[in-house]
Structures are given as structure tokens and as C-alpha cells.
């Protein structure tokens, strides 16, 4: 199968975008490495406190004019951005694969999901309408006006370098706010290209800013009095920290954290249709996804269990691994060597704690093409896992399936609800009663019924419960519009 052409051909120093200008950072520089090839593809700055301050200042200065720009005019900028994203769809997708390692189908899917949020935000003239009550008392009317707040910080993770900031940014600017985006320094190219397109779409200087970096930039955002709110997606410990810091400084916050999702298999599941869904759920994006399946929980007798697991193991062992720009590849590398080491540590702990290693993804991985082993891992399956084991309770963020068993649906729900996480649990069944019972009793922000990746469309909120989410309103759709606006209520009487 042919390898698609790489869009990034030269190593360049990435710049910040502040106040409508591309500025070279004064901070240190680190390499961005393609995890499949091991080649450096860009250099990213670790920006300074002064630079984040400058971006916030630019956003604050842009805010008064932008908030008085009509919603229709603001939506036209988003329509132009949508058109530019469609025109550059393939390039943007290949950049994601080149810097992150995911397969090209996954990258294109990520691009499409990102664009869908821009499309939804294009409806802001309607989405942002308030409401009105006449005669709440004699001669008195009352109405609500959603108003923008000012400047928002958006902090993106490494696993979806293009899409996740788009869960927030289009709604923030559509509602009349200005944004400062900090992409993950591991995968800065996708947001850089997006920002170039946002610039081309005609957002006024200061409305859409981007500052690359690490902890200094995040701390700068959290401490800056000019930032009204933060949208963050990342690990649970960091989400908790950000939630707390925003509470202390009076900022609004969406803090999406990690997960440990259960995929529940009932004995009446359609096995043929379930296997591909499980492969996508557990091994798609190389398991680096907060909606990935982590624990496979099977209900049924030994005969059902054994035949089901034979099918799962056979399918997992056939997964084609390699560079995501090879169209035949079904699973790419993990993002970097350190992440691979961490996953290997979890696999070791599973063995130490007595789980049965059914499929071992360690060692020499069979790779399609000639690429270094550095970041590649094979699909791994553990059986006899219990919820107290590390591999059964902690987020591994890699291609590892931990298989458990339950006697019945009651035990399933008990096990799932005992997890501190509540991001994306799913059941596979052909029984409507089982499905209804599961979705009703489960404490999970996103619930799947015969769907392995419970990713809400852009016009639904990306929900999350317990340690998977800290905040009240979520990213995407109407909830994002509410998050990025303050409700102003007017009560009027003419005397």
C-alpha cells in the first residue's frame, strides 16, 4: 500500500500568534518528533510568562470591538474558517498523523469532528438568543441577554491535537469572546495550521491567539486576572489542579480529565458486529483516548466467554501496525518513548499482580514498513483482571485491554459505578431491557449502547462525570454557548 505524502517537509521553528502577528518566542526550543519515523519535524518554543501576558493583553484589547461585532458578522468569520478547513482538509489531517502517529482514517475523522464544531458555532445568531417574558408584573417586562465575558484560555492535550481546542474555541469567539490557545507542545503543528487558517478567515487581530509552551504558559493563564475562564482537557490530576486554581481565582472552568471505561458484553450481544467496535474502542488511536475502552467486562458462562475471547484475541492479533500515512495501517505508534515506557510498566504490573497475559504487545512489534521500534507497541490483552489491580483501575492510555467477568447486569453496574471515573461506558446487547437498565443506572457522562467510542456529536455536550470531569457546563453545542456567556437579566418598567 502506498504511503501518503508527508505535508511537513522541512524543520521550522514554530511561532506564537499574538495580536494578529506571528512572533518568534524568546523561550527555549524543543524538538517535535514524528513517533513513527523518529524524525524531527519541527521546533516548538516553550514560551515565557511575558509572552502569555502579551497574548492576554492583545485579547483584552480586541474584546470591546469584537463583542460589538454582530453575531452574524462573527458567524461569517466562522463560515470562512469552515470553508478553509474543507479546502485544506487533507493537509490538516496528514499533519496530525505526522506529528501524533494516529492513522490517516483517524486523523480525517478528527478533522471532520473539529469542523463539525465550527459548523455548529456558525449558528450563533440563533444559538445566542436570549428570552423574554412580557408582563411579569403589571407593566413590567423581563428578559435575558447572554453576554460574552472577555478572554478565555484553552489548553489542549496531545491525543487530539487538532479537534479538542475546537470543542471550545469556535463557541468562545462566536459568542464575542477572545481566546488564547495553548496547544500541547508535543503536537503543536496542527493548531499552528489551524491558527493560520483562522487568521486567513479574517478574525480581527487579538481575537484568536496561540501561545506554545508548557507549565509556565498554563500557570500564566491560571493566574492572569485578565482571563475569565479556562477550558482544559487532559489527565485527571491536572484537571483537578486546574479546577481548584480556577476556583481560587474566580474563573469559569471546564476541566475534562481521564477515564477507565468499561465495555460490557452481554451474552446476547451480536458478536460479529461487536468485535470491530471493540477493536476501535480499545486499540483505536493506540488507546490514547479518554473514550477508549479499557476494561472489557463479560457476562456469560465459560463457553460464551471462551468463544468470545477467542474472537477478540484473534482480531487483535491481526491488527496491522505501522506509520499512519500508510493507508493499510490500523494502529499507529504511541506518541513518544516515555509514554511507551509507562505503558510497559503497566503491563509489567499486570503480570506481577497475577493477571493472565493473553496477548503480549511487548517486544519486537511486527511493523508494516521499515520504521524504528521506538514508539510502537502491539495490542495487549490481559484476562483474569480484577478491579483492584492497577491495570483494572488506573488509566493506562495505551493499547491494553483488561478483561474481567461479571455474573449478571447488577454486578456489571456495581463494578462500573465503583470506578472513580465516569467518562464513556458502553454495553453491547440485543436486549432493550438490558440497554435501558444500563443507561439508567450507570454513572457515566457518555453512555454507549452497541457503540464502542461514545463520542458525542458537536451539537451535544461532551459530558463526563466523577473524576472524568470537573465543572458544570461542558464543551460543545449549547452548553459551550452557555459556558462562554454570562446571563444578564433585565427587568424593566417605564414610568
Amino acid at each position: 500500500m502506498a504511503i501518503l505524502e508527508e505535508p511537513i517537509k522541512e524543520v521550522s521553528l514554530i511561532k506564537n500568534f499574538i495580536g494578529g502577528e506571528w512572533l518568534k518566542s524568546k523561550g527555549e526550543v524543543k524538538d517535535v518528533v514524528n513517533p513513527a519515523t523518529g524524525k524531527t519535524i519541527a521546533k516548538v518554543p516553550i514560551s515565557t510568562r511575558d509572552e502569555i501576558d502579551a497574548a492576554v493583553k492583545a485579547a483584552q484589547e480586541a474584546f470591546p470591538d469584537w463583542r460589538t461585532t454582530t453575531p452574524l458578522a462573527r458567524s461569517r468569520c466562522l463560515f470562512r474558517l469552515k470553508e478553509l478547513l474543507e479546502e485544506n482538509f487533507e493537509e490538516v489531517s496528514r499533519i496530525q498523523t505526522q506529528e501524533h502517529g494516529k492513522t490517516i482514517d483517524e486523523s480525517r475523522g478528527e478533522t471532520r469532528r473539529g469542523i463539525e464544531n465550527v459548523e455548529v458555532a456558525c449558528g450563533i445568531p440563533t444559538l445566542m438568543q436570549g428570552y423574554f417574558s412580557e408582563d411579569i408584573a403589571s407593566g413590567i417586562d423581563e428578559w435575558l441577554i447572554p453576554t460574552p465575558l472577555g478572554v478565555f484560555g484553552i489548553i489542549g492535550p496531545f491525543n487530539f491535537p487538532f479537534m479538542i481546542p475546537l470543542w471550545s474555541a469556535p463557541y468562545a469567539v462566536a459568542t464575542g469572546n477572545c481566546v488564547v490557545i495553548k496547544p500541547s507542545s508535543e503536537v503543536p503543528n496542527s493548531q499552528t495550521r489551524l491558527t493560520e487558517l483562522a487568521d486567513e478567515a479574517g478574525f480581527p487581530p487579538g481575537v484568536w491567539n496561540m501561545v506554545h509552551g508548557g507549565r509556565t504558559v498554563v500557570t500564566g493563564m491560571l493566574e492572569h486576572p485578565g482571563i475569565n475562564g479556562i477550558a482544559f482537557v487532559g489527565s485527571t490530576p491536572t484537571a483537578k489542579y486546574i479546577y481548584k486554581a480556577c476556583g481560587e481565582t474566580g474563573k469559569r472552568v471546564i476541566a475534562q480529565g481521564g477515564a477507565k471505561n468499561f465495555m460490557v458484553i452481554m451474552p446476547d450481544a451480536n458478536i460479529e458486529a461487536t468485535i470491530p467496535a471493540l477493536m476501535t474502542s480499545f486499540f483505536g488511536n493506540t488507546g490514547q483516548r479518554c473514550l477508549s475502552g479499557a476494561n472489557l467486562l463479560i457476562v456469560g458462562d465459560d463457553r460464551f466467554y471462551n468463544s468470545f475471547m477467542d474472537a477478540v484475541a484473534a482480531a487483535a492479533s491481526r491488527i496491522v501496525i505501522g506509520y499512519g500515512l500508510d493507508e493499510s495501517v490500523q494502529m499507529g505508534p504511541v506518541r513518544d518513548k516515555e509514554k511507551k515506557e509507562k505503558i510497559l510498566g503497566y503491563i509489567e504490573s499486570g503480570i506481577q499482580q497475577g493477571a493472565k497475559l493473553r496477548l503480549d504487545g511487548r517486544g519486537q512489534v511486527k511493523i508494516a514498513g521499515d520504521y524504528p521500534q521506538t514508539c510502537f507497541l502491539g495490542a495487549t490483552i490481559f484476562e483474569n483482571v480484577t478491579p483492584d489491580m492497577k491495570i483494572g483501575s488506573e488509566e493506562i492510555f495505551g493499547p491494553v485491554m483488561s478483561v474481567m467477568r461479571a455474573k449478571n447486569l447488577d454486578e456489571v453496574i456495581e463494578m462500573c459505578n465503583a470506578s472513580p471515573f465516569g467518562n464513556g461506558q458502553a454495553i453491547f446487547t440485543s436486549s432493550g431491557k438490558n440497554a435501558r437498565e444500563f443507561q439508567y443506572r450507570i454513572t457515566s457522562g457518555n453512555v454507549g449502547i452497541n457503540v464502542g467510542i461514545v463520542a458525542p456529536m458537536a451539537f451535544f455536550p461532551f459530558s463526563g462525570m466523577k473524576d472524568s470531569f470537573f465543572g458544570i457546563l461542558h464543551t460543545q453545542g449549547q452548553e459551550a454557548v452557555r459556558f462562554f456567556t454570562e446571563s444578564k437579566v433585565v427587568i424593566q418598567r417605564w414610568l
Binding site: D105, E106, G109, R112, P276, V320
Partner: protein, 145 residues
């Protein structure tokens, strides 16, 4: 090597359409007959490519089984477009019918296998399979005429 991913399936479909378009163009060049039909087929093939790509890019999502949906053996569908030196026009039309039959089988199988994807994808494959059924009968009528 089997084709498993949506991306590889779309690329394979494009290749089949291109090979088939070239076959019809060569057929007209060689026999100088039925220009309107043969060249319209080639044109329609390229339209099919646009249609398939538009559908794929419009609904591709990593949340559904894009990387695990297909199980296609390309050898079963690869087109044999070479014509013998001495082949008559009637024999060439027989070959064209064979090509259309293979294409119909490919699109029907791809539609069946992609049922778990967004509905637009199997629908697009099915529509093209149906269009090609019409071609098959047209080619047979050219032969008879």
C-alpha cells in the same frame, strides 16, 4: 494483502474507477464506435470518484470503525483491462461487461461491509453498484445492435 481500512478502500475504489475509465477511453480510440456511450461511461467513472470521496470525507469519524470495517481481498476485484491485439469489438464489449460485473460485486460487497459506518458510505457504494447494473444492460444492447 487484505484491505481493512476505510481510507485504503476508498483509494482502491478510485483505482478501479480510473482503470475502468481508461479502458472505455481506449475502447473508443481503438474501435471508433459508440462514442456517446463509451466516453460518457469514462466521464461517469470520474464523477463516481468525486462522489465517493465527498461522501467519505463528509462523514469519516474515528468514533466509528473506520480502521476495522473492511475485509476486502483486492485480487477478487482487480480489473483485467488488457485486450488482445485481434479482439473484435464484440469481444471487447464482453470484456466491458465482465469489468462492470466485477465493479458491481466490489461496490455491493463494500456496501455490505460498511453497514456499521455512517449510512452515507454504504448508500454511496450501493448507488454506484445500481448505476453499473444499468451499464451492463446498455453494453449488452450495444453488442446486440
Amino acid at each position: 494483502m487484505e484491505i481493512n481500512t476505510a481510507s485504503a478502500t476508498i483509494s482502491f475504489a478510485k483505482k478501479l474507477e480510473e482503470d475502468s475509465a481508461k479502458f472505455y477511453e481506449d475502447l473508443f480510440q481503438r474501435y471508433a464506435k459508440d462514442e456517446d456511450v463509451l466516453l460518457s461511461f469514462a466521464k461517469e467513472n470520474r464523477k463516481n470518484v468525486v462522489q465517493i470521496e465527498r461522501t467519505y470525507y463528509g462523514v469519516i469519524t474515528d468514533a466509528i470503525e473506520g480502521c476495522f470495517a473492511f475485509n476486502i481481498n483486492p485480487d477478487e476485484y482487480t480489473l483485467k483491462t488488457e485486450l488482445a491485439e485481434e479482439a473484435s469489438y464484440s469481444e471487447a464489449l464482453d470484456k466491458a461487461v465482465g469489468i462492470e460485473e466485477r465493479m458491481i460485486k466490489f461496490y455491493s460487497d463494500a456496501a455490505e461491509q460498511s453497514r456499521s459506518l455512517m449510512a452515507d458510505i454504504p448508500r454511496a457504494f450501493t448507488l454506484i453498484a445500481r448505476k453499473r447494473e444499468g451499464r451492463e444492460s446498455k453494453l449488452r444492447s450495444l453488442k446486440e445492435g
